[in-house]
Structures are given as C-alpha cells and as structure tokens.
Symmetry: C2
Subunit: 203 residues, 2 copies
DNA sequence: AAATCGTTTTAAACAATGTTTAAAACAGGG
DNA sequence: CCCTGTTTTAAACATTGTTTAAAACGATTT
C-alpha cells in the first residue's frame, strides 16, 4: 500500500480537472492517464470504469456544495425568508461552479441510465421539513394551500433552467458573458418574488 | 439519381425511429445502416456525419411542432390568454413527444458545440410581438412593468424543466409514469397562474 | 538473505465506435 | 458501345473504453 493512495489521488485530481475543463464526454481516459502520469490500465484498476470515476468525483462535488442548501431547508426560518435564502445561495452556487451545471446536465441527459448519480442529486433534496412548513402555513391560512411538490419543482425550475439555456439566452439577446452574469444576478431577487407572490392568499 | 432519394429517405427514417427509441448517443451508425438495409458508408455519403444526420432530423421535428407555438406568440390574443394558451400547447407538445425532450437535453448538454442545433431552437422563439405586448401593457399600467426577457425565461423554465428532471421527481415522490403525467397535466393551469400572478400590479 | 505472497504497474490486445478510402456497379447520353 | 458521373460496396482507419496476462514491487515469513 505504498503509493496506492497516491496514484488513486493523482487519477482523481487529473480527471476532476479535465472533466471540469472540457466536460466528461470530451475527456478520454487516455488523456486522464497522461495528465496523471500513470498507466492507462490503472484507471480501471482503481475505479472500475470511467463512469465510476465520474460518480466518485460528482459525489464529492455535490457533497461539498450541498451542505448549506440542506441546512437552509431544514432551518426554522420563516417560509418566505427561507425561500429567499435558498434561491440566493443556490443561484450563487451555480454561478460559481459552471462545471456543476454541466455535470448535472450530463446526468439529466441520460437520466434513465445514470441512476447512481440521480440518487446523489436526489439526496440534495431532503424536503421533509420544507414540505411540512408549506402544508402548515397553508392550513393556518398564512399562505394559499399549495402542493409542496409543485412548489419545489417551480422553485428548482426558476433557479436552474436559466443556466441550462444559457447559450440560448445569450444568443437571443446578444448578451456578453458579463451581461448574462448580470441577468442571473437579477434573478436572485426576482425568483423569490415570483414564488412568494404565488403563495400569497388571493386578494 | 435512381434510388438516391429512396436510400436517403431510408436512412432518415431508420435513424429517426432509432434516435427516438433509444436516444442519439445509444444508437450506432451500424445499427442505422442495418435497419435501413443499406451499406454503412452510405450514411456518410448522404449525410456528412452522424451529427449532421441528427441535425436534419431535429430540424424536421422542431419545424413540425413549433408552428403552433409561434402562431400563438404572434397572435393578437390578450396577454393573459396568450400565456395560458402558450403554456398549455407547449406542455402538451412536450408530453406527446418525449423524444423531443431528450433531443433538446442532448443539445443543451453540449450547447457550446451544438451551435447549429441551438440556432434551430432559437428560431422557435420569435418573441418580438410578445415582448412588445409586455412592454406596452406595462406602460399602460395593466400589468407590473416587467423585463420581457426575464419573463420569457421564467415561462420556459416552468414549462420545460420539470420534464428534464422527470426521473428525479418520480424517484422523490414514488410516482408511477401515469402519476407523473398527471403531475404534468396539473401544471397546465398552475404555471399560467403563477406567471399571471407575477404580472398583476402590486396590491 | 532467500523465498513467498499479495498488491501495484505495465504493455499489449480487445471490441465497439464514427469515418474514410479506393474500387466496383450502375445509369444515362454522346 | 463507350464514357462520365453517380451510387454502392468491402475494407480499412483512428479513436474510444475496457480487459488480460505478465512483470515489478514490497512486505512478511522462513
């Protein structure tokens, strides 16, 4: 067990860098091996497959980023403030990690096959506390009675989809990268406003 | 030029069927050739590459489906009614063509490379008339003053993203396929409600 | 110190992919 | 009937992820 941890780490690091830089599909295992300075077969020796290697890296990335989101959902903040914070932090997170967006896209793209990774993403959304909160506030009449699943899907959609169609938005509006960033920043207030408005009791 | 149109069509049809059935990435050109009953090289003779073949098929599919959407956006319906119809038709379209969803996912996934297909999608959104309408209604005070780009992105997000995360939603809520379909159906009224609510002047 | 045993590394090959080549088959017009 | 351009074919190519079987290594036992 001399250099074992060492090589495994070298593969992991090289792959992470390349995956993030060029995307999973456009990175070959030979490239990874070259960058890590190791033999090709070692990749399959330590990780059973490229897919497996991706899983490991992805899990690591998600875990690193998801803690704060989960903490917010489980906190005892008021519903509206919770929504504001969640959206804010989530959009910041996706802004800071473009790679994360493209990873998730890759997974969603083949969602039927990528069940393992799907579970990892799924673990990001422990919505029990949040669900309860929505139901209770609805019962109390503080907000409109709302299906928590629908609401959560609405929230995720408004947060994440704009990143997925970034190229489309930029092309359509002749945005520079910086203008797109600004566009996204504006959504940090806009999205919570829409969501909260949809919860307010009818006038 | 004897059987030329014939073979080209045979390739096109076989590929369409396979792409829709198993997805683009999981369909090999040899499979297409076999199904079409033609020689492997003919695929590259008529279409320059697999990518190109995909483009041709995708453009065809989009054109077939997008007419109605464009017609609605350009119509002189009232804003709220226009939103309702657009969302309704769009969600129906995505429900009826799961393949279309997975195609778009594939394209968005590699949006940096797939510029051709991006343009095809982009052509789907001739929002000039719709943009003008939002600005005018805002000026008149009938609705809140709203950035049309943001609003259109909101609308697309709420319509399309749930399809992208279908597996996640099903897994999280233990939905059957039919229950998911029902969930989507519910959104045909829900999504316009949210959007319209977000436009209504503050109370 | 030498031998043994499990772990790590290596070079080579494998099967499957998309793509290209160079020649053959074909069709129609001079 | 031959010539010319189009269509088709079989074979090969380069690149992918993965596997194999042997070599190198390291520590433990004899």
């Amino acid at each position: 067990m001399a250099k074992s941890k060492n090589t495994e780490q070298k593969i992991f690091d090289a792959a992470t860098e390349l995956f993030l830089e060029k995307g999973v599909d456009r990175t070959s295992v030979r490239e990874i091996a070259a960058k890590a300075g190791i033999n090709l077969a070692l990749m399959n020796y330590y990780f059973r497959s490229k897919e497996n290697l991706f899983d490991a890296i992805f899990s690591m990335l998600v875990k690193k980023n998801s803690e704060e989101l989960i903490r917010i959902l489980d906190s005892d903040l008021g519903l509206f403030e919770k929504i504001r914070q969640y959206v804010h932090v989530y959009i910041d997170m996706l802004s800071d990690n473009p790679l994360l967006v493209s990873f998730v896209m890759a997974i969603l793209h083949r969602s039927r096959e990528r069940i393992t990774e799907m579970k990892v993403i799924s673990s990001l959304y422990s919505t029990d506390q949040f669900t309860k909160q929505i139901l209770e506030e609805g019962k109390k009449g503080n907000i409109r009675r709302t299906d928590p699943t629908h609401f959560f899907v609405d929230m995720l959609s408004l947060i994440a989809f704009p990143f997925a169609i970034r190229m489309l938005v930029m092309d359509k509006n002749n945005f520079t990268q910086e203008e797109f960033n600004q566009f996204i920043r504006e959504r940090k207030d806009r999205v919570p406003d829409i969501l909260i408005e949809s919860l307010k009791p009818r006038s």
